[in-house]
């Protein structure tokens, strides 16, 4: 197979675009797509300070690399969950990437260690508060990401969610008719109330396979291993179903998710006002930490209180 843009050997076929690229042309294509995502969804401007959530996996490290290569001012946050083996290995990948790539672009890494902050790793914490590990983890990661962004005055928080992630989540939300979640499934969520930073997903136009190919071509040394808690996640079932459809009919995933975004955009003006309005009327500062919450005490602070006093 030949590259469609130059005479070189192709390294990746892309049936959904009916094309194939060599390494350098793939790199250019991916960066252009990300730039287009940033512009078309009004994610951030060149002078904005961005905080990227990195895990050591392909999506987040690739996102950080692309933002730096495009000349954006992007730092990163890594949350060390204290999962023995996995956390050490993923942290090492993130630290190595920081040393080898990010620091020379003037970017820095912040590490939040759950064990130091809460006295226990994520699994023990989940046991103490009697909740599933992944939901405990989600609460902690969201909270710390927002806290670090807010305290250090970052303009926007970026995550490595890709087309497969968003299409799978959309499928899940549609199958259950979770309308309240549908409203929030956009690649740009505005900072609608004091205390919550703007959130963006610059990789939403790229599939996981394209991102992994970009990482391999550009020698981004990411952790292939998955978090051991992720096994049997429902998302994997949705992703698998979508990839089977994609094989039969290339472009299914992008038509599904981008089509949804188009429909959502038609109602954009009114809905973003509605969402900002909704946030302002229902969110107030947490009485313990002052991050915004719908309850008097935010879910993170309630969880921490239960972890310190599990008998209650």
């Amino acid at each position: 197979m030949r590259c469609r843009k130059c005479p070189k050997r192709a390294v990746l076929g892309m049936p959904r675009h009916n094309t194939a690229f060599c390494g350098p042309c793939l790199t250019e294509f991916v960066r252009t797509q990300v730039q287009r995502a940033i512009k078309s969804q009004a994610m951030f401007a060149p002078e904005d300070q961005i905080l990227v959530a990195v895990s050591g996996g392909k999506d987040s490290l690739t996102l950080w690399e692309i933002l730096l290569k495009l000349g954006y001012r992007a730092d990163a946050l890594y949350v060390d969950l204290g999962i023995s083996g996995y956390s050490e290995r993923s942290r090492e990948k993130v630290e190595r990437f920081t040393r080898d790539v990010a620091e020379s672009c003037g970017a820095k890494l912040t590490i939040h260690t759950v064990k130091e902050d809460a006295g226990a790793g994520i699994k023990e914490l989940a046991n103490l508060v009697k909740r599933p590990t992944c939901s405990t983890c989600g609460t902690i990661k969201r909270y710390q990401f927002n806290r670090v962004a807010w305290e250090n005055k970052y303009d926007v928080m970026a995550t490595g969610h890709n087309l497969d992630d968003e299409a799978a989540r959309l499928l899940g939300n549609v199958l259950q008719w979770q309308e309240e979640y549908l409203q929030k499934q956009s690649p740009t969520l505005p900072a609608s109330v004091a205390g919550f930073s703007k959130k963006v997903k610059p990789l939403y136009r790229m599939t996981e396979r394209e991102i992994a190919a970009y990482a391999i071509v550009n020698r981004i040394d990411y952790l292939v291993e998955e978090c051991p808690m992720a096994k049997g996640a429902k998302m994997l079932v949705y992703k698998d179903a979508l990839n089977r459809l994609e094989a039969e009919s290339p472009g299914t995933k992008q038509r599904f998710y981008w089509g949804f975004l188009e429909k959502q955009k038609k109602a954009a003006a009114s809905s973003s006002i509605a969402m900002a309005h909704l946030d302002q009327t229902t969110l107030q500062p947490c009485d313990t930490c002052s991050q915004p919450t719908t309850a008097g005490t935010c879910s993170f602070c309630r969880m921490m209180a239960r972890a310190k006093n599990p008998t209650r």
Partner: protein
């Protein structure tokens, strides 16, 4: 040919030469969910893996 797979990590042997697309079929893998790497290079589905080659079939779909 030697094939290395992840999630779970395992190694296997297949008779070569074989096209990447046929390896996917034989292992019943969806091409959209994997990449094939020989040395440091990605391989497209029409490329042929020789009998003496070692390749990695790397899953690209994550659960989190």
């Amino acid at each position: 040919m030697k094939i290395h797979l992840s999630h779970p990590t395992r190694d296997m042997e297949l008779q070569g030469p074989k096209r990447v697309a046929d390896i996917f079929k034989e292992l019943q893998l969806i091409p959209e969910a994997f990449l094939v790497i020989r040395g440091q290079d990605l391989m497209t589905e029409d490329e042929i893996v020789a009998d003496g080659d070692s390749i990695e079939v790397r899953p690209v779909i994550s659960g989190g």
